[in-house]
Symmetry: C2
DNA sequence: CGCAAAATTGCAATCGTTTGCAATTTTGCT
DNA sequence: AGCAAAATTGCAAACGATTGCAATTTTGCG
């Protein structure tokens, strides 16, 4: 962006870098040039067309940084993905990237740019304040609460234009869009038990709020029906999950006949591991996942899973955010999960 | 961002919005406050610590928009995903999102922010000039050439800090990082034929340059070995691909015994369709994909595919871009694809 | 104590656009 | 022709930080 031309050279060359340059060529003031390019009705049609033609000829575009500063509006929404509990998790986690994709489409449609930031709270405590305080974004969407619930609550107290993808809890202060994870857990457990499972295992990390809620829902249903259920810690990063699942299956072989995976990614990895061990799904062991990613209909056998409506989630995040940008204090939006029965349970 | 407080209220409240506000409380000039927060050695240690403490106390952070304007540097890299040939393709296409994820990690590590823009060239011819001319980004990474080769060439002539994920062609002017698609196509055809296939089909859209190169490579090998190969147009969008593949399979049943899918996503959809028709892979029909996405090891049977090193691709894109930001005119980087033999061929 | 050098801090121009209000020009009517 | 109203355009402050250079203060030595 820095221009090495001296001032004198700049006066004489035809290169147009600023509105002031353009205005000089057009024989108007910079203010008129600015109004002309903005299509401001104050400017005479002939004058405006002349200025537009010169701008086209020189490939000139007004500097958006300067415009944002003057107008006090950036037109950019920040999307932060905190990786708190599992720093080995890549931003390329399938569910988050799918949601990000829908978010990008939704924001583009609303005329906003999307600025993506992956943050590691263990390395940068002030990741959210830093994003907000930078002044670079008009509002923030956080994808996943991770282990940052309190920090998000604190920031939400003083910053209205923020919405979080995650789990809504009674009494919380920040605005959330997310599935009813607890209900989803119930649906999963109900399905497993209805399919004949008598001993359940939950594969997931119960530290993150939303996974904890999924386990809690499953546990509640299992408890009511007198079916034992255990939680086997399984992390999201694929390399780690593979090893952990292998170990878990070794321990529980013959003792568990129903698995509730906290995510489809974990479920798919589990299916692969079961297949390698010659364990037949669902005859010998039933499996239910969570998310209903595109991959889930394509596994063999196709995965029974709890569907989150990701497109609706993205749309909800953007809709609520724009309302909050307009000054409204919106309630959280809890999306109902649905059981998608395929062939693994 | 606009503050409704009157000037007088602003003087009296302790809210600190600007460096000028902070400076006033600290009893120094705004310049000194700016230098203090930047850790500038010109500022006395005691003075700096006092200013830092007041900033912390008030949760103050310097406005990055103003800083960027003055310093003529944004610290943001623009990532554009043009969807030229298939406007129904979602930004959430698996390969692009996977690449995006790696890019985000790579850029974050280098201290840059990532601004994501999905563009539809049919609706906005000047999508690239507009991104660059906005002044919001220090450089641009384009993911996929789509049908925009000429436009990218034209822009590259006058804009150094741009790198494109795509196919490198002899004599082209813009800097590309991408796999040798032609070689990849050769590997795929070789594998199919070595596995006994005698009649090949290519499932993909041959309009995009990189897919055309994949088909060309396969065609070359098939031609040399006297094996017929046909191209069956299959688009990337999942809903469209499903229908097209179903129709193609109906047409070619019994006449084709080897399928080369332009992408893993197409291959996976194809596998599902074959399974539903009771066609055994690889005994009755062999399949090779392209990309080696995580899903490919998890299909049943696991997919034989041509692997693109996405992590290396992301790293290459960022490395070349930073070099070009530094003024260097780099050559394209062509990554060698590798055949990953699993069970579908 | 006086003075020169070093250190520290202040001033204000700068980045480039936007926009309220004043100045100028144009237009239309008597 | 003169004049008032309307239209158009210019001026310059503003957005908020950065930074070159000048002003001021501090320090140390003879």
């Amino acid at each position: 962006m820095a221009d090495t031309n001296t001032r004198d050279e700049e006066e004489s060359v035809t290169r147009v870098r600023t509105l002031a340059d353009l205005a000089k060529i057009a024989g108007v003031s910079p203010g008129t040039a600015s109004r002309a390019l903005a299509g401001n009705s104050l400017v005479n049609t002939k004058t405006r067309e002349k200025i537009e033609a010169i701008a086209r000829e020189h490939g000139f575009r007004p500097n958006q940084i300067a415009s944002k500063l003057r107008r006090q509006k950036t037109g950019v929404i920040g999307v932060a993905i905190p990786l708190g509990h599992d720093v080995r998790q890549q931003i390329s986690d399938t569910f988050f990237m799918t949601l990000l994709g829908y978010l990008a489409d939704e924001l583009t449609e609303k005329g906003y740019d999307l600025m993506l930031r992956r943050v590691i709270p263990a390395q940068d405590e002030d990741w959210l304040d830093r994003f907000i305080g930078s002044g670079m974004v008009d509002g923030v969407i956080v994808i996943g609460q991770s282990d940052q619930f309190e920090r998000i609550e604190d920031v939400a107290d003083g910053y209205l234009p923020m919405v979080v993808w995650g789990n809504h809890q009674e009494g919380q202060r920040h605005c959330v869009v997310g599935s009813d994870n607890r209900l989803g857990g119930k649906l999963a457990a109900e399905r497993l038990i209805a399919s004949g499972a008598k001993n359940l295992a939950f594969l997931g990390d119960t530290q993150p709020i939303e996974f904890a809620a999924r386990f809690a829902g499953a546990k509640e249903v299992a408890g009511k029906l007198g079916v034992p259920i255990r939680a086997l810690t399984t992390h999201l990063s694929p390399d780690r999950a593979g090893e952990e699942i292998a170990k878990h299956l070794q321990q529980i072989e013959g003792r568990v006949d129903g698995i509730f995976a906290a995510t489809d990614t974990i479920a798919v990895t589990c299916l692969k591991e079961l297949r390698e061990r010659g364990i037949e799904v669902p005859r010998q062991l039933k499996v239910v996942g969570f998310d209903d990613l595109p991959i889930s209909s394509q596994t063999a056998p196709p995965l029974t899973t709890v569907r989150q409506d990701i497109a609706a989630g993205a749309k909800g995040l953007v809709d609520l955010l724009l309302r909050r940008l307009g000054g409204e204090d919106t309630e959280s939006l809890v999306l109902p999960p649905h059981l998608v029965v395929r062939e693994t349970a």
